[in-house]
Amino acid sequence: MSTLSALLKREGLMQALVLAGLALVWEASSRAGWVHPFLLPPLSDVLVRLFTDMQSGAVFVDLGLTLYRALTGFVIAAVLAVPLGILMARKRGVQWFFDPLISIGFPMPKIAFVPIFILWFDIYDTSKVIMITFSCFFPIVTATYSGTSHIDKWPLWSARSLGASENQLLREIILPLAAPSILTGLQIALPVGMITTIVTEMLMGGSGVGGAMIAAGRFADSVGVFAGIMEIAILGMVVIRALDRLRARLLVWHPENRAH
């Protein structure tokens, strides 16, 4: 066991070294003049910019706005899509009505709806959040529906024979049994939501990391653009890690978390 953890630690160290090596190549290539610093500004300049923006607080305003939009859209999508997915799997009528709509909507590039949403909802937060909800909705409803349809009848029958009503069955048995699939749907939807947030911010403007990057681009501020890329990378990593943690915590009972 201790050798395994030592190995894992070593592997983590190796991965960190690889990243550090790449960062070094980045720094060196623009410092040495292999690449024009306007096309690829040195990493150190980007980090300095990030640091000064953090001191002024500008980064946190942009990150906060982006995170607020992304999470609001994502949560609204989850609140709508999870119950709908479960109902589709349990009620024939609901499935009959929604299945064709979802089949059409799922493969569609949701971002193509941006002009329509701008037309309908203007360019402010409402419009962005609706766009994010719209693009997160499909992966969640599809995963929930498929996960709920594949539940074994045995635990359901057990619960019924222990006295559970139809409604209790939905909340107390079906929801937790479908939880692994639902969480997978959420894990697919979250990066989709992050991407949609950045793109809508770029298209509609109004601060946020995406908006700030477009603004930096307009002023030929390539360091600013790369700082934006770094912010997105860090923000994305943090929220996705957080969701992974949430999954591990909610599914402590699941064999997937039997690592010890």
């Binding site: 074994d152 045995w154 635990p155 029958w157 057990s158 619960a159 019924r160 024979s161 222990l162 006295g163 559970a164 209790q168 048995i173 937790p176 049994l177 939880a179 599914l251 402590v252 009972w253 699941h254 064999p255 039997r258």
Partner: protein, 267 residues
């Protein structure tokens, strides 16, 4: 005497896949089945695979609707599942996100008992099936035998009038199976209930049951009924009892007949 029965099954037929499924006519699983099971009788349903013994059990449980005929208990005709007829499945069907204690408490909570009482009753039943110390374990952390003990505790805890068992020991290894059989019989003696035990293991049926119904090949019917007459005590010595050995052979011949018919029917 009129009310002194556990389960009354009259003229029950059951077809699968008929109606809208596109088949011209469904597969007939049960045909005109009659069976009277006594109050607090341990009754085994024995037969070749596909003879409809599980179907009959699910009908008694109320999990699938009765199409023709009628099934009734002391509580009246069976229409839906309920805690008066609780079931144990071959694959345990525990709630994997709940601990052993929470699994056993579930049915008690559905009865609306106060939390402390649920906990107390659940704990007593966990002890009864000898799972003391594993209250906080999740099902995936337990062996198959322990999972089935938990499932039995969960079912017994709601104190059903009728205990339905669908090949409950089918997924266990031979030794565990033997131990579980002895323990089930012991538990049943402590808490007498009407038991319907589905199995295709002849010796399991003879060892456990007071009465055995042998079902015919599909479409299933009750072909023979046999009183084991082995008395209430069953233990290691039962296995070498002359009557046990003879019954085993006699019943094996009857089941084999049906199994041969079933395999010919399949050709």
């Amino acid at each position: 005497m009129t009310a002194d029965f556990g389960i009354k099954i009259e003229g029950v037929s059951h077809a699968y896949g008929g109606g809208q499924s596109g088949l011209a006519s469904g597969t007939l699983a049960l045909k005109q089945t009659d069976l009277l099971i006594g109050h607090h009788e341990f009754h085994a349903l024995l037969g070749p695979s596909g003879c409809g013994k599980s179907t009959l059990l699910y009908l008694i449980g109320g999990f699938i609707p009765v199409q023709t005929g009628s099934i009734s208990t002391q509580k009246g005709p069976v229409t839906a599942p309920g805690p008066d007829r609780s079931i144990v499945f071959q694959n345990f069907a525990l709630f994997p996100w709940k601990t052993v204690l929470e699994n056993v408490m579930y049915g008690l909570q559905k009865k609306g008992l106060p939390e402390a009482e649920c906990r107390e009753i659940a704990q007593a039943h966990i002890k009864l099936v000898q799972l003391g110390g594993f209250e906080q374990a999740y099902p995936s952390q337990l062996s198959g035998g322990m999972q089935q003990r938990a499932a039995i505790a969960r079912t017994l805890a709601v104190d059903p009038d009728i205990l339905l068992m669908d090949e409950p020991f089918g997924a266990l290894d031979a030794q565990t199976r033997r131990v579980m059989q002895e323990e089930l019989r012991m538990i049943w003696k402590k808490r007498p209930k009407t038991v319907v035990f589905v199995t295709h293991d002849v010796h399991e049926a003879v060892f456990l049951a007071d009465r055995i119904s042998i079902m015919s090949a599909r479409p299933g019917r009750i072909e023979h009924q046999i009183d084991t007459g082995l008395g209430p005590e069953r233990d290691e010595s039962t296995l070498t009892d002359r009557r046990f050995v003879e019954l085993g052979e006699q019943i094996w011949r009857l089941v084999r007949e049906q199994a041969v018919l079933a395999s010919r029917g399949g050709l």
